[in-house]
Symmetry: C2
Subunit: 157 residues, 2 copies
């Protein structure tokens, strides 16, 4: 079982895409996060849904629970307007790490060890050009999530 | 819109349940994590699928990528045996925080502010007994995930 067999399609957004579109994608697929890519095959970061929620809520409401309790419903309906015109690249935390990347030919054990080492909930799988694994770029085949990996490993036992 | 309307059912496991059963639950529902409860209404922690993957992979393979690359397929099939007999409570990281808890009557803005404040991907919703909100315990109604909250807030706008 190779990383290419474990990889599943996963929604991606580009750094210059609208944050509001990323939020719609997360909402529609009920995903905990979306993969941010820089070009077609370079995973750049994971944008968690919780990060977008943080951007929706004004700082004074985050800091003051009592105030948040008395905000009226009409205000809640307008929270998503905060994302209008904001690009995905601007939403990423400054220290957002690039997701770990496995080669298409890596084994399931290598993917599991990489996930364990990086404590990441997902690993991106990239097919590198045949002329050298160390070359930058490649083609993104999908991601292996921790739950998918458990599914495959449990199915095998 | 109140927290009780936002809450969705979410799989839970108890501290004394088998870790292997938790892994099967995560795998079956393709969930990034499962809610660990202590009794019927007390959310204790979130057990991420990636944490279970970490427990499957022996430390010497985590530390040595070159070694992980040469482990044979038969070994991969036996990784899940690592979880046999292990209980959920033993899998939680020592510093695993309890998930944030919202009251059933909290507003969507309060839930969003709580999620933003705690940087948590989910908020547990508990119905507290009518004789006092500060009382310990209550009934777990479900959870609000960040993506579900985005879905509801986007739908409202």
């Amino acid at each position: 079982m190779r990383a290419r067999d474990l990889a599943e399609p996963f929604p991606t957004v580009g750094l210059d895409d609208q944050a509001l579109d990323a939020a719609r994608l997360l909402a529609e697929h009920r995903l905990p996060g979306v993969l941010v890519v820089d070009g077609p095959g370079v995973p750049r970061a994971v944008l968690p849904a919780s990060q977008l929620v943080r951007l929706l809520v004004p700082e004074y409401l985050v800091e003051d629970p009592a105030l948040a309790a008395v905000v009226d419903e009409a205000h809640a309906d307008r929270l998503c307007e905060e994302l209008t015109g904001v690009r995905v690249g601007e939403c990423l935390p400054k220290d957002a790490p690039a997701p770990p990347v496995a080669d298409a030919e890596d084994t399931a054990v290598e993917v599991a060890a990489l996930m364990a080492r990086t404590r990441s909930p997902l690993v991106a799988v990239v097919e590198r050009p045949p002329d050298g694994r160390a070359a930058a770029g490649g083609r993104l085949l999908g991601v292996v999530t921790a739950s998918n990996l458990l599914h495959r490993l449990l199915g095998a036992s």
